[in-house]
Point group: C3
């Protein structure tokens, strides 16, 4: 099978089987690292880092060099070139005419998708704001697989900054797809975003349990804060665990404890400060002495701040330097595959893959509604000129649109039908999104508005329900 010319923007761009295939190739490459130097000879990687990064950039560049390829780099510390006013699309088209593959890190969420949309060469997302960081997830999964021999049916705890930690989002999706039971233990105010939870519980068929009032002993141990839990809902994988048994289950121990630093650089200006550090989970020698962590892999995407004590670096369970080191063979495998320089056999597995992708209807009108996420690429001054808003309609009650760029969700308040629109002007009416009208409008006719003003600017008058609202 060939992955040539594919993009890796979100972890969902690879199926479970494809992920396993990348891992097989990475195994092969690790075993013969010195024999890879002509695999990508004559090929050029553009390494475009518009946000500070040492680890990810260097491991991509080292990977390309070990494959015998060449690298051209953009490393922007601040926002200098963004200030020049060039759009991401133009950059993608131009750089795509110089290089054979593009690796992009960017502070705007959805930026990697735009690069992939406009460049004529394969594009790898090396982190787009708080959205995704799929190659980190590949390294994470590969580390787990190397240690546990399987990716299926694992119990994993994700700790720390679950709100801004893009590595957490990509990893959670992947884990869910492989049927993991995931326990989320955020720092105070840093819980998993709602759109991530929705994805986990819909597309990936997870079952959610919330612990808002954890008390006593649990609070001392695994549940010092509110926590949520995702279990695979498939009966043939793990039995549906009732409330109490989850805690029993957890006390048996988790396969991996994955902790992240506070993503200070993504905090809203207001929110910054000491408060977020209150109750931030810390992994140290004392914690690892607890029974349930006896066999737990301690994982971290690095860099760390204070949430991971140096005193456990020599502990056999500490995997974080291995995670980083596996970055090179994993990225070598990925780059070689996307460049078509290597082929892999996709292992056909018995049993179902846990990946239940729901095909939500698209909403693509270029007026009426825009993404509300200020960090979304579609909301940026330099990009508005060409990016058309794009959404998936992921729920009706309330009406919920998910941005196709950053995947943030919005709940627009008004709707109308284009059938009336194209008809007699008197019939151009808009309604509350939560009115019964939503069910009556054919999906292909649906028009959605962010506000009354926008609806009216488009020539619509309030319908009966809307008048009341």
């Amino acid at each position: 099978m060939s992955l040539a010319n594919r993009n890796l923007v979100t972890i969902d761009d690879l199926s479970n089987q494809e992920i396993e295939a990348v891992f097989s190739l990475a195994d092969e490459i690790s075993d013969s690292m010195n024999q890879q130097s002509s695999v990508c000879q004559g090929k050029i990687m553009a390494s475009l880092f518009f946000e500070p990064s040492t680890r990810t950039r260097l491991s991509f560049e080292a990977a390309m060099h070990r494959l015998g390829g060449r690298v051209i780099s953009v490393v922007e510390m601040g926002n200098t070139s963004l200030a020049k006013g060039e759009s991401i699309a133009d950059m993608a088209r131009v750089v795509g005419s110089y290089a054979d593959i593009i690796v992009i890190r960017h502070p705007w969420e959805g930026a990697a998708k735009v690069v992939a949309d406009y460049a004529s060469v394969p594009v790898i997302n090396a982190g787009d704001g708080g959205h995704e960081h799929p190659t980190q997830t590949l390294c994470d999964l590969y580390t787990i697989k190397k240690e546990r021999q399987t990716l299926e049916g694992l119990k994993i705890a994700l700790w720390g900054d679950l709100k801004y930690g893009r590595t957490i989002h990509s990893l959670a999706y992947a884990l869910a797809r492989f049927g993991a039971t995931i326990h989320f233990r955020p720092g105070s105010g840093l819980g998993l975003p709602e759109h991530v939870i929705r994805k986990l519980t819909t597309e990936y068929g997870g079952m959610l349990e919330r612990y808002n009032d954890t008390k006593g002993a649990d609070r001392e141990m695994l549940f010092p804060l509110d926590a949520i839990y995702i279990t695979p809902s498939k009966p043939h994988q793990l039995v549906n665990i009732p409330d109490v048994s989850i805690q029993i289950e957890l006390k048996k121990g988790v396969d991996a404890l994955y902790v992240t630093r506070l993503q200070r650089e993504r905090l809203e200006p207001m929110a910054e400060g000491q408060e977020l550090e209150r109750d931030y989970p810390v992994v140290n020698k004392k914690l690892l002495k607890e029974k349930q962590f006896r066999q737990t892999l301690v994982m971290h995407p690095l860099p760390r701040i204070d949430e991971l004590a140096y005193e456990i670096d020599a502990d056999q369970r500490s995997m974080y330097f291995k995670q980083a080191a596996w970055g090179v063979p994993i990225r070598m495998a990925l780059v070689a595959l996307l460049l078509g320089a290597k082929q892999v056999d996709i292992p056909e597995k018995e049993g179902a893959t846990f990946f239940l992708k729901i095909d939500y209807p698209a909403y693509n009108r270029d007026f009426g509604v825009r993404c509300k996420n200020k960090k979304c690429v579609s909301a940026q001054q330099t990009e508005k000129g060409y990016i058309k808003p794009g959404f998936k309609i992921v729920a009706h009650k309330p009406l919920t649109l998910r941005c196709v760029y950053c995947e943030h969700e919005t709940h627009p308040p008004y709707i109308a039908s284009s059938k009336w629109h194209q008809g007699i002007v008197d019939y151009k009416r808009y309604y509350d999104a939560d009115s019964f009208m939503l069910g009556r409008i054919q999906p292909e006719n649906l028009i959605i508005f962010d506000s009354k003003a926008i609806a009216q600017a488009e020539g619509f008058k309030p319908g009966k329900k809307a008048l009341r609202g």
Copy 2:
């Protein structure tokens, strides 16, 4: 023919035949891109970018990599290392001992010439302030040639920031040399500098026409602003077009419409602001519907801001992404030639080349007069210690010196003769530059002063004319 060890500081460093030869090699390279990987093996390019640049730097580096060479880079966002106080000459000498070829971009005008003067290896100017950007011009010309099959006798419109747009200056010279008729349509206050106009109308034999009072229909269409026009004065090329026929000629259409963004980063601090954007020309779908643009190539050096609408990106006439893409083979050809790794046959053409280089007398005394351009490399604190001012005397009425570094012109007010200087002190007199004395002093004896104070500091007293002044 070999171009080995030559520099490319201004577009005039290559003859028309040599430009055509670079293009032949670029054709050959494009056709066999995968067979170039040993052409520059073992060679190192130093890519020194002291100003932000993505496109130019990456395309040079990609070019070197595709030739099998290696790259060492300096990418300075701000002025950090300039602040360290090192001179360009020292940097050039040292880097020239590490690398086999130097590519330099620098905010100071004339910096590339200094690098070429001091480095022991070939030097390519990748943009020096508002002065020149000759490899962009090669890409521009190559794009036109690919589309029109010839570079001679073209009609070209140059729009936008003609004042600070160095790509415009290099391109205008090259077009004039190939006998083009050029129409300049600047944004408000962003007209072609006088020294560029002088060069076009003297060295390149262009005939100038100014339209200061364009009105009515013309203002609506091609001449919404004051415009100037350069036509080749050679009778065998195009007939001398009288006032009216130019407009008729233009209405027949131009071969290419070349538009540039406002070079905000070069504006004087005062001048910045909205006003410059008033009347700034914009190329969009509506404009391209006009008859005279029916077959026009739309060109832009990128990055664009608002002067080039995204809506025309898919238009067949839009050449700007091609211009960028041709950057790689063009720069491969150029680098391979300057490194002596490739040879080319210079096509001997019938008929004259349009390049009429006038050999103006030099003025090289290291006292008395300095370049007035604040962005000239010779005016910088760190460079004054070793750069001797150098000028060409390009006119007598008024006395006009052109700086050999930045090519800006100055009109110094006083003159004297060194013959008197070396004689009896009483005879050391200085005179007004516009006095009849200028004609009496032998060129080799001429001394020029920026001010009375300087003349007097050098021991000169006012002569009769100067007393009156």
Copy 3:
């Protein structure tokens, strides 16, 4: 002999014979520069520059490219990534898993040692704050050797910023080891740090003479400022020169005059300003006309500011561009050796090497005393979590600890014995460091305190002497 897997953190990491061996290999490489392109094929150098540098970085990278290896780089202008809070140790471990060799420049003194301690690959110090810059020293020595054919018994003058000039420190150690007579002529207030002087006069067996009251003619010439002098104390090398004869000796001329720029970026915020420039030595045409410089090599590590006039660039004695140019073959030789890609024969010399390394006792308790140097890596917020203070006890009167990271010295005021500590609490007493108790405590029992407060926090009470203090 193999230097594979060795580090070069300070110039003392190489013996005199090893230095000579590097030079032999550099000779061989210079003579066949075009035949080195497969020496390090498949190897990756991580070039980590956390301080601005053009020369050193580019010459390392050019060296690796000329050896056929690849380079991954981090170039930090400001302190952006330092601000992210990642420790040097983590960076070293991670990058060490990507690359085969690490070259590090860092503003913190001792940073290169930390990288070497934590990375699993060879590490080369490319400058750590004001501490050392050993590869510059190799270039300096190689230049001298090329011109003088020997490194032994030389007379060298080191001028300029002897306080912050790390190249001066590394060079002085190396020169002393090769038996040089060194004359130090600092800019005002920029004298050699005491810890450097101590090293020169103890480990390297130098004899120190100070000239605090140089007057008259000498002040006009070689001694315009206070100066110090190091001569080898070994009688078989140079006779012990009495006070007067040094000046006579100097007037016979020095082999090399090494001048450095004022290291403005290392000055304490207060100290900056014009005053330091007062009396700063300048090398120019006039100076070089003096008799004692008739055959002197003029050396400078570059970049220069005003201390080295452009007018002498063409002088045959000017070596500074050669010093820079030799950087490539020297670094090629070094990198090839540390990567085990080349072997060398160590020339066994008759006679002693001048390197007298004294093995001072270590002091490694992780409480009680810390390095006082604010630029020491061990004093940094992000590094305190894992770096244990480490010292050598280099003197008893006064008690002097030398930091193993930055080599700055501290004179802690209080001592105690761990024997008492582990015994009855009533016996836990601390004493003045200059009391007779210091001699009574067994080295392995010695505890040292920075202050009374710290001693008391550790449970110690003042002993008799301390009470008086």
